[in-house]
Amino acid sequence: MLYIHCPYCGELREEEEFHPKGQAHIARPLDPDACSDEEWGDYLFFRDNPRGIHHELWVHAVGCRKFFNVTRHTVTYEILETYRMGEQPTITAEHPEGRPSRDAADQASLREGVRA
């Protein structure tokens, strides 16, 4: 059972309180009607399935009901960071140790809730 830090509640809570909602950062095309069938099909049906670092969308379903993002390692199940909607991950497949940031203070606030 995972132990997940809700970036809105600011607490580590049991997985039972959360629902997973699939891959994060899948934006709905702003003009769906302008999409080709293939583009629309990609948006609807195709998802990454990496071995390693993965960004996921979760919801604190029986807590604050907020959606947020989780960077999780799919082999070790380690949660590397959680971050709010609209924010970007600091830890990615390209930067597994954390992305260099121009603003250290900004970096620190982004990494709130990170348990490594």
Binding site: P32, T76, Y77
Partner: protein, 1012 residues
Amino acid sequence: MSQLNRLARGGRIDRSRKLSFTFNGQRYQGHAGDTLASALLANGVDIVNRSFKYSRPRGIVAAGAEEPNAVVQLGKTEAAQVPNVRATQQALYEGLEARSTNGWPNVQRDLMSLIGKLGGQFMPPGFYYKTFMAPASMWMTYEKYIRKSAGLGRSPMEKDPDLYDHLHQHCDVLVIGAGPAGLAAALAAGRSGARVILADEQEEMGGSLLDSRERLDDKPADAWVAETLEALAAMDNVTLLPRTTANGYHDHHFVTLHERRTEHLADTAPVKDGRRQARSRMHRVRAGRVVLATGAHERPLVYGNNDVPGNLLAGAVSTYIRRYGVVPGRKLVLSTSNDHAYRAALDWVEAGREVVAIADARANPDGELVEQARALGIRILPGSAVIEAKGESRVNAARVAKIDPDGFRVAGSAETLACDTIASSGGYSPVIHLASHTGGRPTWNDDILGFVPTLVKGVSAAGGAQGVYATGRVLADGVAAGARAAEEVGFAAAEVRLPQVAERRDGAAVALYQVPHEKPTLRAPKQFVDLQNDVTAAGIELATREGFESIEHVKRYTAMGFGTDQGKLGNINGMAIAARCLGRPIPEVGTTVFRPNYTPVTFGAIVGRHCRDLFDPERYTAMHQWHVEHGAEFEDVGQWKRPWYFPRKVDGKTETMHEAVARECRAVREAVGILDASTLGKIDIQGPDAREFLGRVYTNKWAKLAPGRVRYGLMCKDDGMVFDDGTTSCLGENHFLMTTTTGGAATVLEWLELWHQTEWPELEVYFNSVTDHWATMTITGPEARKLLAEVTDMDLDRESFKFMDWREGVVAGVPARVFRISFTGELAFEINVQANYALHVWETLFAHGEKYGLTPYGTETMHVLRAEKGFIIAGQDTDGSVTPEDLGMHWCVGYDKPFSWIGQRALSRPDTKRSDRKQLVGLRPKDPKVVLEEGAQIVFDPQHAIPMPMVGHVTSSYYSPTLDSGFALAVVKGGQQKMGESVYLPMADGQVHEAEIVSPIFVDPKGERQNV
């Protein structure tokens, strides 16, 4: 019977407290502090079981969790039966009753042993599958007898009288195992101020120190244990959990600890102050850091007939002598590959019994313990091993010979030594089970000749668990691990003084697993690897010859490592043998994966209080008690209990469901019925952008819905498939009340939040579930208006309170929202009141309703009535592959809405445009008495060769009292263009029903009745 193997003194038992117990009906005596196993050995009981496959007599081998043979059935009464208890882990109590799990008719005289003797050569791995495979229909018959003779214990047939608790715990440092490493780790972590839990599976904490020959600070080892436990108990931040097994190590340091609180007292928990005590507690621990101090298991050597009672692990011999004051025989032969096992011989001599010889596989054994043995005059045979045990129900001799382990051959002629006990040791395997649970593949370490755990972040191993065996180093390792763990979670390490332990000079061990025999393995006397599953070295060799190269396949083919011991004793030997047969090194062959649970856990402990009435929460409406009192039968819808139908007693006979539903349907169509619809999901939606939001999540238009009006809406996923439906009412310009299906309430709320929070956060809109706040009662039927008029002064005129209007008013003296919507096709009013007033309103309606024939109806009647009108139920008539167009609900699709609403784009995909999609239609069976089966498959041509092309299925089907006929809703390929055509439904019993495709609206197609 006297305790002939009990020593006059020594051990940790209380000789002043005698306990009597029975084993297989025979009465024996033991002492407080005994385990069932030590008490059986004290009484000279050799045979404790019959083996699984060959029915060979088996005795006690080990002293702990790794015991493969002494697996017993416990319990005085039927309700108290517990299967698969390891006698080595069961504390003795007064009146304990145990029996062997195997053996038919009994363990002493077993019919199946004949097979073991005569047919032994003919029972290779896969024997049962190969022999009893054909005909397949007979397997059940075979299995019954195989099970009876094999036996694996049995479950109780009566209700468990015991209670089990779950505790949720947090700690900074969890230390698993309270041997020297675990005690030292707990001490170090505890002194730092960290919150510590120390769990140990045994009756007493102390682990190997409880039977150690070593002295700590020049005192017996158990004195240090007592001091340390006292120090730990005095710390408020340390919780000691004895008799507690860490069974599973799950993600993110979530560990389940099974604490057995009463199993050492009786077979059911005692009653104290009128309350039954909890038999066990499952601690669900979330730990900051975990220290695995789980120690190591000794490996037996694999030699001929090594399963005959009297063959024990060397360490177990020491444990029984030093901890329990029991010496399990008279004349001992020890076969070893290492120094440590010499303890058994030294302890044996000190117990006053004879050590015949020590066969040491090493050419020049020279460690300290070896010298002590020499000094005692014990005969040591270097370069030798026991190659075969002699005896049937008890060892009577050992055949010892010089061996060449590298060449895997016997290097000299064998000498037969008379003895009744053979102790063996092939070294130690760290207990890596819990580390395996976290996914780490163990790695082979040649220095210790064993697998060491691969650890995930936040967990460390200390002492024997990582192959550190010398007591002084184990203690230091434990302190370091405990201090480091505490430091990692923010506690400053404190000084811990370690006791002085003399460093013992040990000679190097040699790698020895299977001992060679004069005959090749396949013809040698059976050399057992896994005693519980009767897996032999020959079986593993055969498996590799048959092409099983992966150790995981060898395991499954031979059944090695299955059962209650999960390979604790035999797995490494098995892998070493597979490696030898495959000509590959052990690390390359690898090990199988250990999974939870470490030892068997009773189901009661797993479910805790979540059983019977508390298995799943039940949700009741405000009128539930009324339904109960009026004889309702209930249906589970999600967690809700909904009235299914209300059978009446007519002439002393209770109506069948069919009769009740027919009566309820007629009441609605001809007079007035009432339904408790409180369970429908209700979501309050507010905000300046609420209307815009509704337009994006519903398929139809919401821009112009005025306050006081209600509209039906369909909700799709972005793939264009319907997933929920319901009505939404405009309460004010920025305020709406959405209803959902009963089962979909939580899902829909989450769906709305998903889109708002992730895609359209710029919209100002708020959602809140109000399902429980409002109770809903629907009165419906031609008399509904007259009834409602009696209890309200609201204007109910059909022109001013139109169909699909809602009004606020007072009903039965209570503030209410009344919605003129209909799910039955009849005139209907849905009355919503605050849930606390609902029963009053409901009863007031009945007080006035009798003269109109007011009839309560349940979900079954609701289903019939709505299906007669062709109203769908999302999730029953749809299944995630049905578009609004497939449902024929084009009228509910806003094709020209400005925002591309969820699902719109998908409706123009080529697949959703196909004309042969499965479409919703009505079905009218040719024989009106037939009620089609829901789920029945539909074909166009019943003469078609099997497999027939299946073109759809029945989604809803009922008998209609109004039509006096069966009728159904179904999805059929291209069905909307096939009105009037026949389809066929071939049933499992060979019947084929014919039905006509018709409109899904069976009653009142023009919709006039709801508008009277």
